[in-house]
């Protein structure tokens, strides 16, 4: 552990915490409709938006209408995005002559981006046109983040209300969030990134001459540009020809390969800086480039890397403080903040420790750089990876499956636990709310009272929705994982054998069901089974918690608020914080320990015994 590393860690967490009240207060003011520094500039635009769209900003919605509005927005976004992706070949700004996306990849990608997961089964620069990247994907990076934050705002507002049936107006919350928070912050954060060398251009990819030309095998094409295949006898694992029932060898089509000399290389660029800042700030994580922030254009310098990491935590940390201001209970917010931070730092500590232990298989050479951030070192890889998974960001600057088994398990743990260590924009806190309610429920009974949260009595309705909010994403992760490892189409996509392959699949469904979007790498997910199954997991992971959160607060808003007394369970302080952390860890551990045993834990044991995958 180097001194500079310690300094960087302290700076990272210190700046994040320092920004929290500043940004949080600003966000709370925006959503309470109070004047902010940006109002002279943006308030006329806000009014214009309402006039153009016919939104009545004073109109209030019930929780069910609010949810309906979210569903409508996401579905319309999904349909339009899917249309763009499946027709991008013929649409403008296709400078590289890229093809349309397959139906399953378009299905997966469209849900992934409209649901703020930003899982990518493709490489952006080789698949997406400028139009798809900006008008298609970038728009949803803004909107899906805003929608998440809007929902959290509604949740906070509803909790502060009493004896009221409405929880606010989704369109107003969405507009304010996009206008005052998402766009200004993205612009501000893009400036230093562009200064540090992240490309910001609309030009076609420039071409570079290779220093050393090489020969590659490519599939032969005929005059019309169609791929050429030849019919050859099928062989089994041992190289013997397979004979069919009629006694004749079975024939299969095989591509015909030819050598091609490569002397030039196109350099993919684009409006990356603005895309990057939004991707980092609003827990999107879908990279411009396929290798995400491991690409030197996305993450050119140590300073850019640091700013991008800070961008991951800034808004998610601030949203906790904002929540506290909205519910009028800052002490509760700081308690949640402490629990989140504690779990986060713990996770980082375990991962970093595991990553700096020697690997007996490779003669204990240190440090282990394969798949890590080559320029900035192992610590920056680990901190980024843990941050991007604790917070529902999902961007990567190293390949998590190159980490040591236990280290690689921590990003997976962060995701599986439900993305509640600050978590996604909005969803980090409202997913935490389910755990808080379950804790309040059990702890409340244990002190001999009907459980109550923020002065509201909890009953069957709240209990039902809270467990739905936790249960469905977990089921959406475990069930398809189990199917994938026995399904031939599922196994075929795995890049690594043994438990490591299981980890890849578990990770993929975990991130989908929790809308993270980061990848363990190593899994070729662009096949119909994974595209569709992951897409469905993303939908469940997005809407189950949203519906649950809104249903809960909708009911709570209509209840009376009781002043706290010495007999009510305080939702702040050490006792509550530790109980909450305990409930989170035990519930997550009980749910995922068996699966983790068969994945990273057994792999760790095997590595100790000298076996790797």
């Amino acid at each position: 552990m180097k001194f500079t590393e310690i300094v960087q860690i302290v700076l990272f967490f210190g700046l994040g915490i320092a920004l929290t009240p500043v940004l949080g207060r600003f966000m709370a003011r925006v959503f309470k409709g109070e004047r902010t520094i940006l109002h002279p500039l943006l308030f006329p635009i806000e009014k214009l938006v309402y006039r153009l769209t016919g939104i009545d900003p004073k109109e209030e919605m019930s929780w069910a209408r609010y949810l309906w509005a979210v569903v409508i927005m996401t579905s319309v976004g999904f349909a339009s995005l899917m249309a763009i992706l499946m027709t991008q070949k013929w649409l403008p700004l296709n400078t590289q002559g890229l093809d349309n996306l397959s139906w399953h990849l378009a299905f997966n990608t469209a849900w992934s981006f409209t649901c703020n997961a930003d899982w990518q089964s493709y490489s952006g620069e080789a698949t997406m046109t400028y139009l798809s990247q900006t008008l298609g994907l970038s728009v949803h990076q803004f909107l899906s983040g805003s929608a998440g934050l809007a929902i959290l705002v509604a949740v906070g507002r509803a909790l502060a209300r009493a004896s009221v049936r409405t929880i606010g107006n989704f369109w107003v919350d969405l507009t304010r969030c996009t206008l005052y928070i998402v766009i200004p912050l993205s612009v501000i954060w893009a400036i230093p990134l562009a200064w540090q060398g992240v490309p910001q251009t609309w030009k076609a990819y420039p071409t570079a001459n290779l220093v050393e030309s090489y020969t590659a095998q490519v599939q032969k094409t005929d005059d019309k540009g169609n791929l050429v295949t030849a019919s050859v006898p099928k062989v089994d694992d041992k190289g013997r020809p397979v004979v069919g029932a009629d006694g004749k060898p079975v024939m299969v089509d095989q591509p015909v390969m030819v050598d091609q000399k490569v002397e030039t290389q196109p350099i993919p660029v684009g409006p990356v800086a603005s895309y990057e800042s939004c991707k980092q700030l609003f827990t999107n994580g879908g990279g411009w480039y396929g290798v995400n922030s491991a690409h030197p254009f996305e993450n050119p310098t140590p300073l850019a890397g640091f700013l991008e990491m800070l961008a991951i935590i800034a808004v998610p940390m601030a949203q906790v403080y904002m929540f506290g201001l909205l519910i009028g209970n800052k002490r509760h917010a700081w308690c949640l903040f402490a629990v989140m931070l504690g779990l986060y730092v713990l996770s980082f500590g375990v991962a970093w420790y595991a990553e700096t232990r020697p690997n007996p298989v490779v003669d204990n050479i240190m440090p282990l750089m394969e798949g890590k951030e080559q320029r900035f070192g192992v610590m920056n890889s680990v901190l980024w990876g843990v941050s991007a998974t604790a917070i529902d960001n999902g961007s990567v600057n190293s390949m998590h499956d190159s980490w040591m088994p236990i280290a690689g398990m921590m990003p997976m743990w962060n995701i599986l636990i439900g993305e509640i260590m600050f978590g996604g924009i909005g969803c980090g806190v409202y997913c935490m709310l389910f755990h808080v309610l379950i804790t309040v429920f059990i702890a409340g009974l244990m002190i001999g009272r009907t459980p109550e949260y923020l002065g509201k009595k909890l009953g069957a309705w709240e209990a039902t929705w809270a467990v739905i909010g936790v249960l469905l994403p977990n089921a959406a992760c475990l069930i398809p994982t189990a199917i994938s490892v026995v399904l031939p189409a599922g196994v075929a996509s795995m890049n690594n054998a043994g438990p490591h392959g299981l980890s890849e699949v578990l990770y993929a469904f975990g991130e989908a069901a929790n809308n993270n979007g980061s990848a363990f790498a190593g899994l070729n997910a662009n096949v119909p089974w994974y595209d569709v199954a992951l897409g469905i997991a993303i939908i469940i992971g997005r809407f189950a918690p949203i519906a649950a959160a809104l249903a809960i607060v909708g009911r709570l808003a209509s209840k009376k608020t009781v002043e706290p007394s010495a007999g009510t369970l305080p939702v702040h302080g050490w006792t509550f914080g530790l109980t909450l952390a305990g409930v989170i860890i035990v519930v997550a551990a009980l749910t995922f320990f068996p699966a983790l045993c068969l994945g990273p834990l057994i792999e760790h044991g095997l590595m100790q015994a000298g076996r790797v995958f």
């Binding site: 409340g444 467990v467 057994i602």
Partner: protein, 686 residues
């Protein structure tokens, strides 16, 4: 409080064992979804025996059945205890006949034929045939059958002591009772059906907890069912076959161990036991909901008299007027009170006797004429030859003295003022035209009540004292007793208004009352405890009846309600915490052989066998057996309830979290290991 009911435990246990088997009926089992899963598991493992018989599978099957039976046994025990109580109550009622008044003639009819509104006659020695209200006469009634209190109580027409309960015995005089509840619908009947659980509905908290438990069950079923595909995948990848244990009995064992069977099996027992515990304190509740609400109470409305203070004001001090000897005052005060039969009067005689050794003189002194208290004169006293001694309210005495040409000393006036302000009642004593001094009458705050209120405050419960006294007196007593608030010069409407106001703010209110004019408040309060001595109206309005008619009981009711919720919460926490150790027993057993390199050796996951359990079979069996036995082990706790301490929420949470959370994680490690050792010792597992 003495209970008159003794439970015959051997009989109870025998009946509960039979009940446990009877409850294996699917129609009973499906009422509790968590245990229904175990029940299905038991059936599946039984069927599996015909497919793959082994000693291990047989033992799993037997222990799963035992898990069901133990949970059933717990419920049957709780019901049995309630039933024993109910039977006792019912016995009093059997074969009662009543003398019904028909056109002023008495007709003997069986009590079962009585209708609401019928008039019945009860004389000394009769059992009262039905709940009713005394419309004529006065009688002493022995209510020991339901209250356990041996001293008979007076029941008379009119006023607040007019209600009689079916099954009690009249010991003197004759009363005419109007029947207010026909058989099958009387108070006793409702109690009996409550206790027997026949009409026991789930309370809101039970429903919510059930949802959490069922969801956890669903989650764990998913968690276990996804394991075989993953394990088979790993097995294939390792190039092994048949090394992971994923047979049906093993998977079912894991499911049963993980789902919250401990709380699931004991949940209904806890609820029934809560009502039963209340009953043991001689409080009858009309619904489980009321018991639960008692745990949630935020504000207690308490009548001053009888609850906070002893029933009556007592003389505590003699304060002589200037120039008067103290013993003269005491002597005069005693003389003036000799014929005064009120408790205040008697307390003056006693005080004089205790303090000045003045013996009570004969009331029948031939020279003495006693002057009784009247509302006009507002004083009483005695004329002894030419001595005219009077005691009474300061204003009246002042007028009397002045009318005789005497003077009323300023010192006495200021003393009277001081006493009033401090919450006492001054009585001025005078002989002829001289004021002798002042007697201080004080409300005596019950011993220990202040501490009780402090505990309540720590629990977050506010106490409001209700009194007819003037605000000054009320404030003084409130301060002495340590209540949080008081309503002085309270009228029944004030109580009702206060309850409504607190409820507006979402607070839950408990109160205790006896009079007919308490009925609206009792009905409005969330927990309304009516005193058994109270009117029928009051008893109908409340949702609990205190058979002892002890106002302080309200505090105990609150404690029992809290204890009920705490027991549920604690066992839920314990149940979930237990799962951690079960993973460490079962998962290495299932997957320990994966990637084993040498024959007979273990793979990397065996490292999680931190209890060093002997073999995969012994490990799984130990976990299943522990899971079954812990239900039995916790039956006493479920019936008795978690120990309750009047502390703040934070302290209670920390305590219970340490005991049932952390303890719940650690304890099973020890016992699973012990069971494993025993199994191997008995050659029940390889």
């Amino acid at each position: 409080m003495s209970t008159t009911f003794k439970i015959d435990y051997p009989v109870l246990v025998r009946q509960a064992v039979i009940g446990a088997f009877k409850k294996l009926n699917p129609r009973d089992e499906i009422k509790n979804l968590v245990m229904f899963v175990v029940w299905i598991g038991s059936i599946l493992t039984t069927v599996w025996l015909f497919i793959d018989f082994s000693s291990f599978n047989l033992q799993i099957c037997v222990w799963l059945w035992f898990t069901c039976l133990f949970a059933n046994f717990a419920e049957a025990m709780a019901e049995g205890r309630g039933k024993a109580h109910a039977d006792e109550l019912r016995r009093m009622r059997t074969k009662t006949t009543a003398r019904k008044l028909v056109d002023d003639r008495e007709v003997i009819v069986p009590s079962s034929e009585l209708m609401v509104g019928d008039l019945i006659v009860c004389t000394a020695g009769d059992l009262v045939a039905a709940d009713g209200e005394v419309v004529a006469g006065i009688a002493t009634v022995d209510e020991s059958a339901i209250t356990g209190e041996s001293a008979p109580v007076v029941r008379e027409s009119g006023g607040d002591r007019s209600a009689v309960t079916g099954g009690t015995r009249v010991t003197s005089d004759r009363i005419i009772v109007r029947v207010t509840a026909a058989e099958g619908n009387s108070f006793l009947d409702r109690m009996i059906s409550m206790i027997e659980g026949a009409r026991r509905q789930l309370t809101p908290n039970e429903i919510a907890l059930n949802i959490v438990l069922v969801s956890l069950t669903a989650l764990f079923i998913v968690v276990v069912l996804v394991l075989p595909p993953m394990a088979v995948y790993d097995e294939k990848a390792a190039g092994q076959s048949g090394v992971v244990l994923t047979s049906l009995p093993v998977l079912l064992s894991l499911i049963v161990c993980l789902i919250p069977t401990t709380i699931g099996g004991l949940l209904s027992a806890i609820g029934i036991a809560g009502i039963d515990r209340l009953m043991r304190r001689n409080v009858l509740a009309t619904s489980g909901r009321a018991v639960e609400a008692a745990g949630d109470v935020d504000v207690l409305l308490l009548d001053k008299t009888g609850t906070i203070t002893l029933g009556n004001r007592m003389a505590t001090e003699f304060i002589p007027a200037p120039g008067v000897d103290l013993s003269v005052l005491a002597d005069a005060a005693q003389l003036a009170s000799l014929a005064d039969e009120t408790p205040e009067g008697r307390s003056i005689v006693t005080l004089a006797k205790d303090k000045f050794n003045l013996r009570g003189r004969e009331v029948a002194d031939p020279h003495a004429t006693f002057v009784r208290f009247s509302a006009q004169t507002r004083m009483s006293g005695v004329n002894l030859d030419d001595r005219r001694i009077r005691k009474g309210a300061a204003e009246s005495l002042k007028a009397w003295i002045i009318s005789q040409g005497g003077t009323y000393p300023a010192e006495v006036a200021s003393e009277v003022e001081r006493i009033s302000r401090s919450g006492g009642t001054p009585l001025v004593v005078a002989e002829n035209k001289h004021v002798l001094g002042v007697i201080l009458l004080k409300d005596i705050v019950k011993g220990g009540i202040k501490e009780r209120f402090e505990q309540l405050r720590a629990m977050g419960i506010r106490t409001v004292m209700i009194t007819g006294d003037n605000p000054l007196t009320a404030a003084a007593i409130a301060a002495e007793a340590g209540v949080d608030d008081f309503i002085a010069q309270a009228k029944p409407e004030d109580k009702l208004a206060r309850i409504r106001k607190e409820q507006e703010g979402g607070k839950l209110i408990a109160m205790i009352g006896d009079g007919t004019n308490d009925a609206p408040s009792l009905a409005q309060a969330d927990v309304g405890v009516a005193m058994n001595t109270g009117t029928q109206a009051a008893r109908e309005a409340g949702n609990m009846v205190d058979l002892d008619s002890n106002p302080t009981k309200l505090i105990e009711v609150v404690e029992i309600g809290k204890q009920l919720l705490m027991t549920r919460g604690a066992l839920t926490t314990f149940s979930i915490a237990n799962d951690v150790s079960k993973y460490f027993a079962i998962l290495p057993a299932m997957f320990g052989l994966l990637y084993a390199t040498e024959k007979g050796g273990y793979g990397p996951l065996q490292a999680y066998n931190i209890m060093f359990l002997h073999s995969p079979q012994s490990a799984i069996l130990s976990a299943v057996i522990f899971n079954a036995l812990i239900i039995v082990a916790l039956i006493p706790l479920a019936l008795r309830g978690v120990k309750y301490r009047p502390l703040g929420a934070k302290v209670i949470l920390r305590r219970n979290m340490l005991i049932y959370g952390v303890g719940g994680i650690l304890v099973p490690f020890l016992f699973i290991k012990l069971i494993d050792v025993a199994l191997v010792g008995l050659h029940l597992a390889p």
